[in-house]
Each structure stands twice: as C-alpha cells, then as structure tokens.
C-alpha cells in the first residue's frame, strides 16, 4: 500500500502551525528583499537611461564627467563652475552643431529646481525612446516672467496656466532668499515624462538674469530694488550658463567634436556623451549593487537556515510519529521524501508570499519614488530574471532540506517504537 505522502505533509505542517508560519514569513521577507534590490536596480537603470535621448553631447565646465551628467540632466549635486555665454555662443555656431540648448541652474521653487533655458528646450529635448516633450496645458514661455512647469510640479502644487509663482535663490531653504518682487506667471504645463523634467520649473535665460539684477554674490544688494516692470531697461542677455545640451548635424562627428571641446584652449570645458558617461556611472555603482545583492542573498540563506533549523528541531519531537509511519508500512525513502516535500512546500510558500509582499510594497512606494527620485518602479509580479532567482531559492531550499530529511531517514532506520522522548 502506498501512503498518500502529500496528505501527510499537509497534516504535519498544520500540526506545527506557528513555527511553520514564522518560518514562511522569514523566507518571504528575505525573498522580497532579494527581488526588491534586483528590481530597484533594474528599474533605476531603465529610468536613468530613459531620461535623455537624441542629445549627442553635454558641455559644461571642466570637472568630472559623471558629475556633469548628474547635475545637468538628473539635477543631482551642483556645478562647481559655470560656462561663459561667449563660449556657448561660439559652440552654437560650430559647423557640426545642429542645435544647442543652454541650461542655467541654481534657483528653485518650493523644492523644485528652476532651469533657465531657451524655447529650443521644448523642441529638442527628448526622453525615453526619442519621445519629444509635450504640453498637457498651455504653451512655452514667451515673456521674461513666464514659466513652464513639469507635470509633478503642477500636480503637487496644483498649478495650471495663469498661476503666479515666486522663485527662490539656491535650494530655497531660506525665505529671505526669495525673488518675491518678481513673480512669474505659469504659461504651460508639460505632460508627464517620468524624468527630472517633471520636477522642474522652466524659465527663459533672460528671466534668470532679471531676477538677479539687484542681487550680488548670492544675496540682495541692500537698498537696491529693481521693480519687475523696469527690468526691460536692462541688458538681460545671459552672461553665464551652467551647461548645454548639443545635437550634432551628423552623429559621425561626435567623438571628433568631443575631443575638440575637451582639448580646446582658454576656458576649460568638458564635453561628454551622456550614454557613455551613464555607463561609467553604472560601472561605479555596480560595485555597490553587487554588495547589496550579496547581502540580500545572505539574508535568503539565513531564511533558509531558519527553515532547516525548524525542521531539524521538530524532528526529535517527531521520532515517534516517524516510527509509527514506518510501522504502517512507509519505507525510509518515504520518510525522506516526506521531509523534503515539507521543506520545499514551505520554501515555495515563502516565495509566493514574498512576491505578493513585494508587489504590495512596490505598488505602495512607486508614487513616492517617482515623485522624490524620478525612478519609475513598474509594478509587476515577476519577470523572467526574477523567476530565475526564485527557482534558485527553491533549489537552495531543496539542497538545505537534505539535512533534516537525511536525519529523519536515519532515525526511521534506527528507532523502534520504544523510542524515549
């Protein structure tokens, strides 16, 4: 007679309810951590890669390539130096340059970065797979005190075309540094892109000059106040910008133009290929990612060790049960399979719970991640690479459960019904 092993498995798991549930929860948490780290890594990479497309070169003051990429495109960190307008103007008329979009950073609006640029920004900046920017409402800025806001700015502050906003100097921590005398009017709202553009306030370069007319060295010049209606009397042509995005006439000249800019005399400039520099960044971040992955793999190992420990410690309490099974006709092999099935079942349950946990968690934090860090977490149950990890976890559980299964096998051979507990 064959014993219905799966029935016994379920019954014996049910018999040790709390310990089993805790073991499954431990495995579930470790699996969510492992998959979560992996998922965050992949989605962060995809988000970063989708931030800018169609731009051949980024030019800024000579510093680190990664630093230039981070502050100009991702609004992370600050520029150590800026570039004089004459150099940017010269680059614009370079024979290989098709278009140039200057960027002037350094001001903010209620925690969102203000980007001074030209209307070319809306024509040439592309995200994702060559997706141009679109307006969900209104139009590009035209007058000096016009502003276009990104989708996230509009959504979180409730702006629509016509709204009046005040920009702040620097990161906006001090109310005293507000450009309150020169309010801006929102003329347009950009459609959501999933990039830092969503969290930007875009104004013309002349606006950046205008709000700093009565400022010097980061603070207001005492006693000098130039009302908004008079700024037109001043020279509002840009003097310095932070960086510039460049599109070339022909892609084939990209390395030559890069070298030309990087080895040019005079004001030291740095030109980078955004995609190339992003890969350089990933090479550095890759070390940290591997450490994180190793740590979460260890956590999974700890979870599985807990599973083995639970099973092993339950074995001594189950020696009589196993002896009865043997007396009823189960072979030592059946006892081995029973234990293996139990632990694999628990590992699979842990994985399923872990995936569900991760799904709920990622659905919960996705909006915050998007708003705060511009990382688009795509909610999904499992994808192919994650499935490989899950199979790995179950395989590891299978391997680890050989220990309790083998002990049970030995007991069932050695013990009689008279075992003393």
């Amino acid at each position: 007679m064959r014993l219905p092993l799966w029935h016994l498995t379920v019954a014996s798991i049910r018999n040790r309810g709390l310990a089993t549930v805790l073991t499954v929860v431990a495995i579930a948490l470790s699996v969510s951590l492992l998959l979560g780290v992996e998922r965050l890594r992949n989605d962060a990479r995809a988000s970063f890669a989708n931030t800018l497309s169609g731009t051949d070169l980024i030019v800024g003051a000579r510093s680190g390539a990664v630093q230039l990429l981070l502050y100009s495109v991702f609004h992370i960190g600050d520029a150590t130096h800026d570039v004089s307008w004459s150099r940017i103007d010269a680059l614009r008329s370079h024979k290989d340059v098709a278009w140039l979009v200057p960027l002037s950073l350094g001001d903010s609006h209620r925690g969102f970065r203000v980007v001074g640029t030209t209307a070319d920004f809306f024509a040439h900046v592309q995200t994702g797979n060559r997706q141009p920017l679109r307006f969900s409402a209104g139009r590009a800025f035209d007058g000096v005190f016009d502003a276009v806001v990104g989708a996230e700015v509009a959504a979180s502050l409730g702006y629509a075309p016509g709204a009046k906003i005040v920009l702040s100097h620097g990161a906006g921590e001090f109310a005293a540094a507000e450009h309150g005398d020169k309010p801006f009017t929102v003329t347009g709202v950009l459609a959501r892109t999933g990039t830092p553009v969503d969290r930007s306030v875009l104004v013309g370069l002349a606006a950046i000059e205008a709000i700093h007319l009565d400022w010097q060295g980061g603070s207001r010049i005492p006693g000098v106040e130039i009302p908004a209606q008079f700024v037109g009397k001043f020279d509002l042509s840009p003097k310095r910008v932070t960086a510039a995005l460049i599109g070339l006439e022909r892609r084939s000249t990209v390395f030559r133009v890069q070298r030309e800019i990087n080895t040019s005399d005079g004001e030291p400039l740095l030109a980078i290929l955004p995609g190339v520099t992003l890969d350089e960044l990933w090479r550095v971040v890759g070390v940290v990612e591997r450490v994180l992955l190793a740590v979460s793999a260890f956590v999974v190992a700890v979870g599985l060790a807990g599973l083995v420990a639970t099973l092993v410690s339950s074995l001594s309490a189950r020696r009589r049960e196993l002896a009865i099974l043997r007396a009823l006709g189960a072979g030592p092999g059946d006892v081995f399979v029973l234990l293996m099935t139990e632990s694999v079942l628990l590992a699979v349950a842990g994985c399923v719970l872990g995936v569900a946990c991760l799904w709920a968690l990622s659905a919960g934090i996705a909006p915050w991640l998007m708003a705060e860090h511009g990382v688009q977490l795509v909610p999904r149950f499992v994808d192919q690479s994650e499935l490989v990890w899950l199979v790995g976890v179950v395989a590891a559980a299978l391997l680890a459960s050989v220990i309790p299964a083998w002990r049970a096998y030995r007991y069932s051979l050695a013990d009689g019904m008279t075992v003393r507990m």
């Binding site: 890669a49 497309s53 051949d56 000579r62 680190g64 390539a65 990664v66 630093q67 981070l70 991702f74 992370i76 960190g77 022909r250 892609r251 084939s252 990209v254 390395f255 070298r259 990087n262 080895t263 740095l270 980078i272 290929l273 955004p274 995609g275 190339v276 520099t277 992003l278 890969d279 350089e280 960044l281 090479r283 550095v284 971040v285 940290v288 705060e372 860090h373 990382v375």
Partner: protein, 181 residues
C-alpha cells in the same frame, strides 16, 4: 541617507573613472576604441599608446624594433584581424587610415611622436559601409591577440540605438553595442 546623497557620493567616486574620458590620457596597456554609426556608415577609431603595441615609444633603434613597427602597421591595416563586424550587417571596408610614429621616410603621417612628453601614440581609423546597420550588434575585437601588451580597451559607441561604454579585456573581447544591451 537618501538616494540623492548616495548618488552624489558615488559621483565623487566616479571622478577617477570620468577623468579618462576627458581627453587622451596616456596610460600604457590601455587603449581607446570608438564606434560611430551614421546610417550605413560605420567609423571605428583606435587610439593607443605606441608602447602597448610594440613595447617602446622611441624611434626604432634595432632591426627587431623596426620589424615590430612594420608588423604593427600590417596588423592594423588588416581590419578583420583587428576588429570584426558581424557578417549579417554586410559591411565592406571603404577606407583605412593608420597613423604610426617613426614611419618610413616620406610617410605623410610620420611626425606623430610627442617629443615633449616622451610619449607617442598610434591611431587607426576604419570606415565601413554596412548594408544592414541594424544587424550591427557586436564587434569581435582581435586587438588583444595581435598586441599582447594591450590589457584594457575603453570602448565607446554612438549608434542609432544610443550611446554606451564598455571596458574590454583580453578574456572578454566581444564588444556588445548599445542595441544589443
């Protein structure tokens, strides 16, 4: 610590890496490879310290050194040995331009040695015409086999699919282009 702070920290770590991209840093054993695809035209550039190719950076003094220099030129001229494009892309070589210092008298590219730094560089440029540029997914780089002193290649690409950089080493000499990653 927020992600933002972490990334700023990482960007400091990346300074050393980024520096090499800025210009032609001369580091023995390390060379640069670049690939640009513009419609059907594919341009491959190779830029290496002469030492990585032949083991010296001065005017050849012995017969062996002269021979090494000639051999390096021959190897670089045979583009298939140096860089092999996938057959599916149906590429034909339209031009090759090798610039080696200390060339034969009368060589128009002869004067490339930098006397001030005592360093000299070798450059090669291959232009291909590829009928199916979309099939251009990888480049098999034979430069490590041809030049054993070469230990690392910083390979940068700009194609219709995007830009990217990989670091190639003798054990890992297949360059996956941005489309294939």
């Amino acid at each position: 610590m927020t992600t933002r702070q972490m990334l700023s920290g990482l960007c400091l770590m990346a300074f050393s890496l980024g520096a090499s991209a800025a210009g032609g840093a001369h580091e023995h054993g390390v060379a640069r490879l670049s690939l640009v695809q513009d419609n059907t035209t594919v341009t491959l550039g190779f830029d290496s310290p002469l030492d990585s190719l032949v083991g010296f950076e001065h005017a050849p003094r012995t017969e062996a050194q002269k021979k090494a220099l000639t051999q390096a030129r021959v190897t670089l001229e045979g583009a298939v040995q140096a860089v092999d494009l996938p057959a599916a892309a149906a590429c034909t070589r339209t031009s090759v331009d090798i610039e080696l210092p200390f060339g034969e008298p009368g060589d128009k590219h002869a004067a490339h040695a930098d006397d001030h730094s005592g360093h000299s560089d070798a450059e090669a440029e291959y232009v291909f015409d590829c009928a199916h540029p979309a099939a251009l997914t990888q480049v098999t780089v034979g430069l490590f086999k041809a030049f054993p002193r070469l230990k690392r290649l910083d390979a940068e690409a700009a194609t219709a699919a995007g830009q990217g950089k990989v670091v190639l080493r003798p054990a890992q000499a297949t360059w996956l282009l941005p489309a294939a990653r």
